[in-house]
Structures are given as structure tokens and as C-alpha cells.
Amino acid sequence: MTNGDGGQTRREFLMRSARAAAAVAVTWAGGAWLWRRGRRTGQAPIAAGAVIPNFSVPSAGKRMAIVTGADRLKTVGRALEGVGGISAFIKKGDRVAIKVNAAFATPAMLSATTNPELAAELVRLCLAAGARSVAVLDNPINDAESCFALTGIGEAVRKAGAQVIMPREGLFRRVTLAGGRLIRDWPAFTEPLARADKLIGVTPLKHHSRSGASMTMKNFYGLLGGRRNRFHQDINGIIMELAQLVRPTFVVLDGTTAMMTNGPTGGSLADLKATNTMIVSTDPVAADAFGATVLGNRASDLPYIGRAAAAGAGIADFESLKPMRARV
């Protein structure tokens, strides 16, 4: 039991004991930390999640314009003047996001998706108003690349100077609508919005077999990710919540050629009707309420309009906005 110099042995023993004691202490301290951490995170509440900024411009006021005419570029130009001009919304250096409806890989002719010329015109107007960049985005139902290619939107907006943002997985964040029932901890295409100063929604006026009509509020359904088809079981509820979640700068509802039946995909020119109406509104609820009349309905026929208005997302009585009416 005795080997070598007693003092040295003793020193070694003390050193080794100290090291062992330190290791034991580290083990128990780490263990205690991990154990308590486990208790704390045991029942994690739903994270508040990412938030979509409010893009509305209060200084521009609540305004709406309804312009009739067959030429989209003219009607949209006139309608924008009617709500105070593009410069009332887009300031120099703004980064603008445009949410188009590119849901289906169908030709523009079928009016199931945003008209490419209209989208391109909005891009040009924004850039002319001094926007630093314009990003065009959607999370379509079909494969995104083919949707942007076949609808013609991709090429048209790129030529006009915008960038198309494809729905890559990394661009989604889980969002929760405060007080919401459906949009809770749900993935949404929010990252491009987090990098934008203004948001414009532009969508064709369509019949929708599930919800009655697909217009500017329903357009933001295209921001949802995940297995969102589940929401079709409560379509009015989800549109109402989307209207609360997404507050755009303004929306453009293109009723130049409306899809009257067999929406949202249509597929036949027989489903279309030249209704020759262009609506620009700072309030999507009002835009949709008027849009319903173009489709031959009353706003009260579409439950989500009333529910969105009741939830404070906008005004269903569009006449109270005193819309500017014109014909070009």
C-alpha cells in the first residue's frame, strides 16, 4: 500500500480526488439543470408565433374606387387615382410585396389567376412611385414554378422589374392569430412579408363553389402553408380570420372578366363573363362586398363578409366609403 514518495503520492491522490469531485459536481449541476429544464418545458404553451405586420396606410384614409371599362391597364390606373393615387401609398424606398393569385397552372385566358398584365402594371406603378423593390409571391395549390410560368405572371412581372418569390420551406413561419380559432400555430408564407414595407393584394373576381366567391380576402388563403385544405371544412371561418390576420396596404379586385360559375378553377370560357369592373380599395371587406354584387349576389349571401366586418376587419357597407365611380 505504500509506493514511492509518500508526499508525492498524497499530492496525486488529492489532485485526483479534486478532479473526481469536480466531475461529480459538474454532473449533478448539469443533471439538475436538465431536470428542471425538462419540468419547465413540459407543457409548452402554443408559441405566439410570427406576426404579419399591419400594412395599411392610415394617412391615405379608407377609400375605394370602382371603375368600369374593358381595358385593365386604364381602369386600374383610373381607380388608383380615385383612391388618392399610388403615391399616397407607396413612398420612395419602399419594399413592396404583391400577393397575386397564381393558384393554378392554367392559362391567363381562363381568369382563374391574376391577370399577368395587371400584375405587371402594378409593379411598374410601384417602381415609378419610387419603390426600392417589388416582390411578387403566392403559395399556389399546384407546383409553384409551373403556376408562375403557365399563368404568365412570372414572366410579366419579372419583365416589369419585380422579383418572384417562390414558396420555399425556409420562408414559412408558424403564426397564431390572437383570439383566433383556426389560425393557431399554423405555418404561413410570412418571411417575404417580414421584409416588406407595403402589401398589395391583386386577384381576379371568381365564383368559388365552397365559399360562394373568391375575392380579395380569400386571396390571402394563398399565404397559408401546411395541409391547409383542411380549412375548407370551415371556409367562412378561415376567410374571416385571414381578414383579421392580413391587413394589406390596398387590394385590387379585377372584375374585368369574372368567373361566374364552376369556380375557383373554371376551365371553360363559358364560365366567364365580361363584367368590365375594376375595384381598388383600402378595405378588402368593402371590396368583396361590392364584388359580390358583380357576381349577382348580395354581400349578405356570403357569410364571411358579415363575420369579417363584425370582427373589425373592415366595413361591409361599401357605400359608406363613398366609392369613387368612373368609366373609361
Partner: protein, 581 residues
């Protein structure tokens, strides 16, 4: 008492305790049943279980803090867990001793020499911990406690108790028994050739404790008494740690046999002083090899993610026990220890094979055909047996969505889907309501839709009637084929209907307690109809327990089968929007 005697008593004690825990892991209040036995204790003592789970979850769930005791013991006394406690080590030591007991000393010394391949276990450890660092826990594949637990619980007990039927009324079945048994038997039998084969070459827990034993205060070594190089210390050396030379502390399992071997010269000691023969406490693997191994372990995670099984390509056939965490988290905690499979009273929880992907091998999956029933409504045993909380410990209230859990609803593990092409009433006009009868939830998730259908060849012409019979023209019916009470005679035109209570070749005997509301005339058309009650599934009431699938009369490929759609643990797998409180 010599320390080797004490060690053998300790090993015997812990092996017996381990076997006892395996035996008692069955639901019930008898002394030999679960009651309060701390059956997860060995798993809780296992430091690799704790470290792996800590890496995947950054927490120490349940009572895994027991591993800190093991680590502390190792830091002070060396690998006593391996030599004195570990039941897998004890089993190997017994088999190794039995297989080599007649060998001459020289051969034994050669058998127990150090082999460079003993470094492999450090590689194994590095690979497993690499995977765990990215959230995938596969340590249980080779971790000796989970390995022994599942092998003994599922295979050894199954083989032994099958014919005896002391523990289980009906023989237990486990789909993966052949592979599980082969691995276990192979590892144990290898000890006939090389003692402690698994401990020396493969055991990742031993490797982990070996690394820790560098710090240990007490160690085996030589004192300053002269060593005569007789190598008797090597003769029964369990760890193959070269006590005769510079001792490899990391390999030493504290069997203390070298002390007995050195009885004459008394050179071997267990003391705090460093060995006079020198100490080699660095594992025999290069740092580069370890880093490469850990890197390989890390890579397995994205590699497995590439299969898409965790996302769009999820396998709905994989039904996890009630209370299981979402799949990625589940795989970060499941040890494949088999406790849930052992404790499940209906044997419906089975070790998964490779059909659910490599990472799910031997994890629990429900197989409603294999058990004696489906998942029992009033049972939460699996979650209470799970040592790491991969299956949460539910209360019955939570499982059934009662009391405080009313708003959350019951815990669903899947949904039953009816195959109308196979279901007897739907496809073959044969009355059967077995699934509805057996559905245990209230109200029943399977409900019935009544339909009367004319049987094949059941269109008849009336020849005449009496109060209780109806004769038919020219028919040759099989006598009493329609006597089951499910068949009715229906008159064309009026639609009047009476139950058939029996029949001869040409006459139907009708229920005497009823009578025709319209009188059948000779020559009128009539039909024999069968009353069918066609089952339908209410997805809001269905919890996926699988009792219907188990009981289904179509007992090959069942006409009603549960798959994991709508399981509570995943919002992505929901059938409808889940509104959350």
C-alpha cells in the same frame, strides 16, 4: 468476505432483481404483477439512457436522474456498474465462465488479453451520440440495459412462459421475436468464445463509463511488491485490461478477479495510489476516428430525413401507443426497451420492424391483428411504464377526454376506415354488426344504417297463403336457409313485409306475431329480403383503439382497419381543423 464474493452476490442480486422486474411488468394487482414495482430502475440507472435523452431533449425526463448516481459511482470507484450491477454484464460473465471453465491457464490468459478491437465500442458510442445530438435516439439498439430489457421481457419470457403459461393467460406474440432473439442469443453466446464479448467490443455504455473512469479515485493497479510476471491476474480478467502490465483503467470492469489471482504475491491492489505497473487511461482509438464516427452519426439524421417519413411520406400504418409524442420527439426519446410492449395487457403493442423505416426499428407500434384485443379504453399502462416519456403518462380522464380534459377530447391514436369492398353487409349482403357491437366508446363511433336488400335468387311468385305461411311457385329453396331472423318476405307493390322464421323447399314460414297489412294474392310477385345493418364510422367519435379491427369477422385482411390518420399527437395528421382552446 473477499471482494470477489461480494461482487458475485451483488451480480446475482441485481440479475435476480432485473429478471423479477421483467416478470412483474404486467398489469395487475397480484404481487407478481406490476403494482408499484420500480420496473424502470435499471433503465433509469443507465448513464447512456440519460445522456442520450439529455442530448435529444435537453432535459432529464422522469426519474432518469438515477443515472447521476451511476456516474458518481464511476467517478469515485471506477466501472462498478459494469462489473457489479449490469445484468447484461452478469449474463455474459456467467456464459463466459461456463464456456471456458475447463480451459488451461495459458489459454485463459490468451483469451483475456487486450485486443485493439476493444476500441470499437468507443466508435459505436460516438456514432450513437452523434445521432442523438441532432435529435435521433438510437442508443437503445446497443445500450445493454434496453437491449437486455427488451430481449428478456419479449423473447426470453415469451419462450419460457409460452408453454408454462404462468405469467400470461394467452401466449404472448411479438412480431420481431426472431431478430430480437437472434441478436440477444448471438451476443450472449459469443461469450463462449471470448468472455464478455459484448462488453469488451460493443457496449457503448461501457465505453461511456470507461471514459469517465479516467477520473476515478480508486483503481485497480499494482503496489510496490515485486511482480513475478506470472500473469495469473490475467486468468479471469473480465475487462481484458492487462492488469499484469500497464493497466487500461478504461477497460477495467472492477471484477476484482486479479486480486484473487495474485494471492501469493499480493501485488494487485484496489487503491487510490497510481499503479506501480503503469496506467494507460486513454482509450485505444484516435481522436480522428472518434470525430469521424461522431460525424457519421450526425449524418445519419439528415440521411433519414431524406426518406420523408417524418413529413409528407409518413406511414399511416404506424400507430403509436396512446400518449405518444409527435413522431420526431418520440424518436428522440424512445429507447426500444420494450417496457410498453411487455406491460400492454392485450399484447397489441409490438416492436416495429423495418417497414416503418430504420429509425423506427423495434419502437412500439400497434398491430391490431397480433394482440388479444385492441387498445383498451380503460388502460394507460404503457405511458406509465415508459421510462423516458416518449409515451406520456396519461390519466384515464385525459385519455378518455373527461373532467378537465373534456374540451381537449379523447386521445386518438388513429381512425378506423371501413373497406366497403370487404365488409360483409356492404359487399356480400350478409348481416354482421360485430364491429359496432365491440366499439367501446360512448356514444359508439360505429353506427349502423339499415337496409333491406333482395337476396340473390330471392324474387318469387306467390302460390298461396295461410295465416302463417306463404307458398311460392316452382321454387326450390334450401330448407331453413332463411330461418335466422334476418330475412323478410316482401310483397311487390304494397311493400308489406313480414319476418321469415323458417322455410321448406317451397314454403316460407312467417312470424306469427305479425300479419299481412295487404293480402298477398296468388300469382303476385314477392321477394326474400335480407335486413342489413351497414356500419359507418363517425370520425369524431373514433379514437382508433382498433378493437373493431381485431374483432372483424373478415379475419385475413380486415374489412375495417385503423390507420394513424387523425392521431392526437400530430396536428398535421388531423382529418379536420383542430380548434384549440
Amino acid at each position: 468476505m473477499r471482494s470477489t464474493i461480494a461482487r458475485r452476490i451483488s451480480q446475482g442480486f441485481f440479475l435476480a432483481l432485473f429478471l423479477w422486474f421483467c416478470i412483474v411488468s404486467s398489469v395487475g394487482m397480484a404481487l407478481w404483477q406490476l403494482r408499484g414495482w420500480p420496473v424502470d430502475w435499471f433503465l433509469q440507472l443507465d448513464p447512456l439512457v440519460a445522456l442520450g435523452t439529455a442530448l435529444t431533449t435537453w432535459s432529464l425526463p422522469g426519474e432518469l436522474w438515477w443515472a447521476l448516481v451511476t456516474i458518481t459511482l464511476t467517478l469515485v470507484l471506477g466501472r462498478v456498474f459494469c462489473g457489479w450491477i449490469c445484468p447484461m454484464g452478469t449474463l455474459q460473465q456467467i456464459v463466459g465462465w461456463w464456456g471456458n471453465r475447463r480451459k488451461p491457464v495459458a489459454e485463459m490468459v490468451a483469451l483475456n488479453r487486450y485486443r485493439p478491437a476493444q476500441g470499437i465500442k468507443y466508435i459505436v458510442l460516438a456514432v450513437l451520440l452523434g445521432g442523438a445530438a441532432l435529435g435521433l435516439l438510437q442508443t437503445g439498439l446497443l445500450d445493454p440495459i434496453p437491449l437486455a430489457q427488451r430481449s428478456v421481457s419479449l423473447v426470453v419470457l415469451g419462450v419460457v412462459d409460452g408453454p408454462l403459461a404462468w405469467l400470461a393467460v394467452a401466449p404472448r406474440h411479438y412480431e420481431e421475436s426472431v431478430l430480437l432473439g437472434a441478436v440477444f442469443l448471438g451476443l450472449v453466446l459469443m461469450c463462449l468464445r471470448i468472455p464478455r464479448f459484448f462488453c469488451r467490443f460493443l457496449c457503448p455504455t461501457g465505453a461511456l463509463l470507461g471514459l469517465l473512469s479516467r477520473f476515478s479515485v480508486w483503481r485497480i493497479g499494482k503496489n510496490t511488491n515485486p511482480c513475478h510476471d506470472c500473469h495469473l491476474c490475467d486468468r479471469y480478467c473480465e475487462g481484458a485490461c492487462t492488469p499484469a502490465g500497464a493497466i487500461r483503467t478504461g477497460e477495467c470492469v472492477m471484477c476484482m478477479n486479479c486480486l484473487d489471482g495474485c494471492a501469493v504475491h499480493a501485488t494487485m491492489t484496489y487503491a487510490t495510489e497510481p499503479s506501480a505497473g503503469g496506467v494507460d487511461d486513454v482509450p485505444d482509438v484516435t481522436r480522428r476516428a472518434l470525430l469521424t464516427a461522431a460525424g457519421a452519426g450526425l449524418v445519419t439524421v439528415p440521411l433519414l430525413r431524406l426518406t420523408g417519413r417524418g413529413s409528407a411520406n409518413w406511414n399511416p400504418g404506424l400507430i403509436r401507443p396512446p400518449g405518444s409524442l409527435e413522431e420526431a420527439e418520440f424518436l428522440g426519446r424512445c429507447l426500444k426497451c420494450g417496457q410498453c410492449m411487455r406491460v400492454c395487457p392485450t399484447n397489441v403493442i409490438q416492436p416495429a420492424g423495418l417497414q416503418f423505416g430504420a429509425s423506427a426499428l423495434w419502437t412500439p407500434a400497434l398491430n391490431n391483428r397480433a394482440g388479444t384485443s385492441g387498445c383498451q379504453l380503460n388502460c394507460v399502462a404503457c405511458g406509465r411504464a415508459c421510462p423516458t416519456g416518449a409515451i406520456r403518462a396519461l390519466t384515464l380522464n385525459e385519455k378518455q377526454g373527461r373532467g378537465a380534459f373534456k374540451a381537449a377530447g379523447p386521445v386518438r391514436i388513429g381512425t378506423a376506415f371501413l373497406d366497403r369492398g370487404r365488409c360483409l353487409p356492404w359487399a356480400m349482403d350478409r348481416p354482421c354488426i360485430v364491429c359496432e357491437e365491440n366499439c367501446p366508446v360512448t356514444p359508439k363511433a360505429i353506427h349502423l344504417e339499415e337496409e333491406f336488400r333482395t337476396v340473390r335468387g330471392g324474387s318469387l311468385t306467390v302460390a298461396g297463403v295461410t295465416a302463417g305461411t306463404l307458398r311460392v311457385v316452382g321454387a326450390s329453396l334450401v330448407p331453413d336457409r332463411y330461418a335466422t331472423g334476418d330475412f323478410f318476405c316482401v310483397l311487390a307493390g304494397s311493400g308489406a313485409r313480414r319476418r321469415i322464421t323458417g322455410n321448406t323447399e317451397s314454403e316460407l314460414v312467417l312470424d306469427p306475431s305479425a300479419r299481412w297489412t295487404a293480402r298477398p294474392a296468388a300469382g303476385a310477385a314477392a321477394a326474400i329480403q335480407v335486413r342489413l345493418q351497414k356500419p359507418r364510422v363517425d370520425s369524431e367519435a373514433c379514437i382508433g383503439c382498433g378493437v373493431c379491427e381485431h374483432e372483424c369477422v373478415v379475419n385475413g385482411l380486415r374489412a375495417i382497419m385503423v390507420s394513424a390518420e387523425n392521431e392526437s399527437r400530430s396536428d398535421e395528421h388531423a382529418l379536420a381543423v383542430r380548434t384549440k382552446a
